[in-house]
């Protein structure tokens, strides 16, 4: 299809609308900041300067990347780091089903771009066509900005030693919180999510990394999924 790039971009912009585009750009700037904290923390822990970007291209899943760094930094070894990362990323299984329809036309590319923030942002869109456009736009931008952040952070990590001084460790949970906020405005969802978080927090000191987060799913029982009629 011979479409000139500018025409294509203009069409894209008109389809999404200025408000949505602005939100997507702002999420990506935020992710860039989290990427900087990821790169800086990883290199600050003594890992090689190329590792953040290799991980950010190959894995492309922030939480598991932070965990991978954390386990290796505390002497857990690569095998433990990989297993913990897989455990944390098991939450993407329901993401895949929730967004299966959204990525129907490009399932493999869509699966690669299925990042927490992209998932949260897409699920916030009610209309299917808008959701699909938001998913791929946000996914590609995030791939770029997450890697840009990782690179800047890795370089920064070589220059400074204590990343906590800048509060960078608070960036990742804050971004996730901002992203799930639209879903949490629904009272029934909020109640179940808070219950799940309480379960995860109570179990974290006793279970291997990632397992406690998965146990949060027990809270779904409160949604009484066996009922024939939707609530």
């Amino acid at each position: 299809m011979a479409v000139r790039p500018l025409t294509f971009l203009r069409q894209w912009r008109d389809d999404l609308g200025p408000a949505l585009l602005r939100d997507i750009v702002l999420v990506n700037l935020a992710i860039c900041l989290v990427g900087i904290s990821y790169g800086a923390i990883t290199v600050g822990e003594g890992l090689p300067v190329w590792l953040p970007n290799v991980m950010s291209v190959v894995v492309l899943a922030g939480a598991s990347q932070f965990l991978f760094t954390g386990i290796i930094a505390t002497g857990g070894g690569v095998v433990a780091a990989v297993l913990a990362g897989i455990l944390v990323n098991l939450r993407h299984l329901p993401f895949g089903f929730a967004l299966a329809d959204t990525v129907r036309e490009r399932p493999l590319l869509g699966s690669y771009l299925m990042i927490d923030e992209v998932v949260a942002f897409s699920l916030a869109q009610k209309e299917a066509e808008v959701r699909r456009k938001v998913f791929f736009t946000c996914g590609f931008l995030l791939l770029f900005f997450w890697n840009l952040g990782s690179l800047l952070g890795a370089l920064l990590g070589q220059a400074i030693t204590d990343t906590e001084v800048f509060g960078l460790d608070a960036a990742f949970p804050a971004v996730l919180l901002a992203l799930v906020m639209p879903a949490l405005r629904e009272a029934s969802t909020l109640g179940i999510a808070v219950l799940g978080a309480a379960i995860a927090l109570a179990l974290t000191p006793f279970l291997p990394a990632g397992t406690a987060v998965l146990c949060a799913l027990l809270a779904l029982v409160a949604a009484r999924p066996w009922r024939a009629e939707p609530p």
Partner: protein
């Protein structure tokens, strides 16, 4: 930590993550998933994200983090609730944590 084991680790985690993410999209067409189950999956995704952010805000591995991190995340949360832009939320969260640490020593 050898370069080879780090690269192999990254590739393994990447392959596994992709397989997990692709399961839904690849099986979906062969599997009729009822609308209620889809709604439940969506709810499950939100529950997991909230559990992940809560544990990463309050814990450092299996030990409680210092108070500065959850305080920063809480400030970010209030701003997000009041519909502040994402960049403001992130900068306020990191800035609050940094400020508390600077004051608390």
């Amino acid at each position: 930590m050898s370069t080879t084991s780090l690269v192999v680790g990254a590739l393994l985690l990447g392959a596994a993550t992709f397989a997990i993410r692709a399961t839904g999209p690849l099986l979906h067409s062969r599997l009729q998933v009822p609308a209620r189950l889809m709604a439940l999956m969506s709810l499950a995704a939100t529950v997991l994200l909230v559990a992940l952010l809560a544990t990463s805000a309050l814990f450092d591995g299996q030990e409680l983090s210092d108070p500065a991190r959850p305080a920063g995340v809480a400030v970010g949360g209030v701003l997000a609730w009041r519909r502040a832009p994402f960049v403001v939320v992130v900068l306020a969260a990191a800035g609050t944590a940094a400020l508390i640490r600077a004051l608390g020593g």
